[in-house]
Structures are given as structure tokens and as C-alpha cells.
Symmetry: C2
Subunit: 229 residues, 2 copies
DNA sequence: CGAGCGATTGAAAAGACTCAACCACCGTGG
DNA sequence: CCACGGTGGTTGAGTCTTTTCAATCGCTCG
């Protein structure tokens, strides 16, 4: 219903691909990838997949941002990760045979390609270096999540907010961070009201600037000191 | 220094292997595995590896329990996982080339085999079904950790304790749960004192029995209701 | 028998959440 | 062009959970 066709990006000159796990593909493989993938435009807040549904393939983010989240008992979202350009989304569930354990939703207008499970698994089986890249990625994420767990368990909300802002800085690069207060709170793992109060504190302490909805980090080192890891 | 030689267990009749990722190995592969692995006895509190050091291979737990943990800023442990019999430990870091992001320590007297990185990676490359098992395992753990993060972020300490007790029940099976209060607190992500108070509550509410240091779950359904997921 | 670690308890303080109300901006329809 | 409704943002007050600190207890290992 919302598949307004976006420009079909070729994998060959896809900037995002170059830093991605597909980056080391030789021309032949890129050809193949380019034929197999389909391209779609996603509106803000449009879902890619839902927790509990069965995966049919992986998504590759050409342009935009996507939040990966779970839902707790009362339906409250917990954001686990925000994917940026070049990221492959949903490949974890390609291997387990289980339904998705997380949901994914576009945070802004995004251009996202899709590769069918069969094609993806075929790449994994036949391309050892790609496979190793995927395994490395799985391992890295596992390590990241261990740190995340530790932060959640041991840091104050204030420290966690500093951590998350630094992570977001890396994702948004030179752009301003553009998330609803609720999404940000659901990433930090706190109540929206608490988050708002802390943002105000951070502003007063000169760590950030608030441009209505968007955030700009103006004292990265200060945040690093505050975050403490 | 503490390598009191334990009985050398053969992979062929290793009970733990049968439920493990090595379980589907054919006889030839088991032979090979058996020759490659070395076997060692670990005392309680003896470390397998430390965060930051470089992995030289993987560990396979024949008998005992091993805690996997990180350390937060002030050195406080956060337990991420407790491994039981049949688990392969440390294979995540085989792929990334990075040093360990977590530490591992035996929680009780354990018998643990070791497989050199080279041999392990060779198995991965040559044995597709084993490889798939490993990838499935990586994915499963990723999913588990997403749940863990959500629990940490959204549940009260009381609910988290219920969750963790249920997880421990699955690991310890019919045995009583045998952890220091501090380890348990570091798993739940709370202060030791808070944990002790909650254990007392749980006892008074008829969920558990406390035998000095050991815990026994006597109302699993109650805990499930309390944990709420 | 004594040292020391792990377990326990109490009291006070801090951090975070909830609830309730209010504001501000934005797009819509009249 | 303006009033209206709605969503997302903000603020305040009160409450509750959880932590911290300090002290005590009890068991076990040399």
C-alpha cells in the first residue's frame, strides 16, 4: 500500500554498499546481487518486519535510519540498535529458523533493498569471505550487546543517556540527531519525562544544544567523561 | 599451576557432547575432535580467560558451570550468561579477530576441554552442518541478549530476580542453585543487599527455599507469573 | 582459635517513575 | 485565514524502589 516506487539504486554505484559487508564483493558478485535484490521506498514509521513473523530475507539500508527494537511486557519499546546506511538488517534470523525476535521500523524516509532468504543463504554457502564477514559481524554484535547489558545494569540513567548520545553521534555523523523524545527514552531505557529533564540538564551543562526536536552534541569529550567507558 | 590432571574424557562417550553443537558429528569427526582436544581440570573460581586477552581456541564444558561476565566501570561484574554442560565457550571471539570482550570463570569444580583456534576454524570451514549450528547458536544468543537488555531496562529488580531464578533452574536442573549472593546480584544487576532482601521475600512468599547458601525453587509457576515473560 | 569472607540487617538518602496538567506546534477543514 | 484537534514535548509534585553506608553475624579454613 505504501510502496511508492523510489529510484532503483544499482548496487554498483551504491555508496552505502562500499562500507558494508557487501563491500568486498567482486564485480561478478555485485552483478548477481544487483539482479537478485529489489528496492523499495519506506515512509517514516513504516515497518520492515515485526517480532514474531517469519523472515523471508534480509534488508540492506541504502539510505535512511531504521530502529531495531523489542517490546516489553506492557508493550513498551526497547530500542536495541539503530541501523544506518550500509547496514544489513535481519540476517540473524536467517540462520536460526525462528521467527524474528525483534521488530524493525524506518525512523525517517528510507530507501531499502531486499534480498530473498534463498539468495542470501546461497551467498553465505558459496562465498567464504562474505560468510566470514557475517560471522564477524554476529560476534561483534554479541560483544556490543554484552556491553549494553552491563551499562543497563550498572549505570545511572544520566550516564546511559551520555552513552547513547555518543552512539547516536556516530550514526548520525554530521547530521543532527533526530528522534522523538519517546524513542530516545526507549533507547536509554527510561521514562520520557526523565529523559526530557536530563536533556535539559545536559543543555544547561553545555553538552548539547536542543533545536526544538533535534539535538546537537557540542561537547563530545564532556559526554565521554560522563559516560565513563 | 593448577592443572591437576583430571581424567581424560574421550569425546566418544562424553555425555555432554551429545546435546552440544558437536552432537551431530559422525564417528570420523569425533575421532578427529578427540585427538585435537586437550582436557583440563578447573578449580572453583579458576579463570578460563580474561576480557582483553587474545583467544587461542574454544572451551568445551564437560562437567561443571562457568560464568561469563563483563566488568563495568568500577570493576563490578555483570554476569551475562552461565554455561552448563555441553556448552562451547568462547567461540564468538574466534571470528572477530578481537580480544575477548568478556571473561569466563569456573563457578565450581569443572572439567573443561580445549580446542585450538586453528582446529576449530578448520572444522567451521570444512563442516557445513557444524558451521550452520554455530551460526544458529550465534543468532540465538543475539536474540537472548535482546531480551536480556529489555528485561534490564524495563523490569523491576524483583521481576528480574524471578527471571534469573528461572533461567538458573534450567541450568542447574535438579541440583540446587549454588551461587554466592554476590554472583546472583551481579547476574540480576542489583546490589547484594537488595538481592538478599528479595530472596527473603521470595522465601516468605513461598517461591523458594533457602538452604544456607543454596536455593531451591518450590513454586516455579509463581515465579513465572511474577517474571511476566 | 583467629582471620576473613560472605551473609544479613537497619536506617537514611538518592534516583527514577508515575500521574496529572499544561504547552506548543502543525496540519486540516471550514 | 483562522479555529480545532491531535501529537509530541514539558513541568511539577509526590511516591516508591533501590542504593548506600555502617554495623553485626556466622561460618569455614588455616
Amino acid at each position: 500500500m505504501s510502496d511508492k516506487s523510489f529510484k532503483h539504486v544499482s548496487c554498483h554505484n551504491c555508496e552505502a554498499r562500499k562500507d558494508s559487508l557487501f563491500g568486498s564483493f567482486c564485480d561478478n558478485h555485485v552483478d548477481e546481487l544487483n539482479e537478485q535484490k529489489s528496492c523499495a521506498y519506506y515512509k517514516k514509521n513504516q515497518g520492515l518486519f515485526l517480532d514474531g513473523s517469519f523472515p523471508r530475507g534480509v534488508f540492506c539500508l541504502n539510505k535512511g535510519k531504521v530502529k531495531i527494537f523489542t517490546r516489553g511486557e506492557e508493550g513498551k519499546e526497547q530500542i536495541i540498535h539503530i541501523a544506518g546506511e550500509g547496514e544489513i538488517i535481519g540476517f540473524r534470523s536467517m540462520f536460526s529458523g525462528d521467527p524474528y525476535s525483534v521488530s524493525a521500523t524506518a525512523l525517517e524516509e528510507s530507501n531499502i533493498c531486499f534480498i530473498a532468504k534463498e539468495d542470501f543463504l546461497n551467498m553465505i554457502d558459496t562465498n567464504a569471505s562474505f560468510r566470514n564477514g557475517i560471522m564477524r559481524e554476529l560476534s561483534k554484535e554479541l560483544a556490543e550487546r554484552a556491553v549494553f547489558i552491563t551499562n543497563m545494569a550498572q549505570k545511572s540513567v544520566r550516564e546511559r543517556l551520555a552513552c547513547i548520545l555518543l552512539i547516536l553521534k556516530d550514526i548520525y555523523k554530521e547530521e543532527e540527531i533526530n528522534l522523538t523524545r519517546e524513542d530516545l527514552a526507549n533507547y536509554v531505557g527510561t521514562a520520557t519525562e526523565t529523559l526530557i529533564r536530563l536533556l535539559k540538564d545536559f543543555k544547561e551543562e553545555g553538552f548539547i544544544e536542543i533545536h526544538t526536536r533535534k539535538l546537537e552534541i557540542i561537547n563530545k569529550d564532556g559526554l565521554i567523561r560522563l559516560a565513563g567507558n
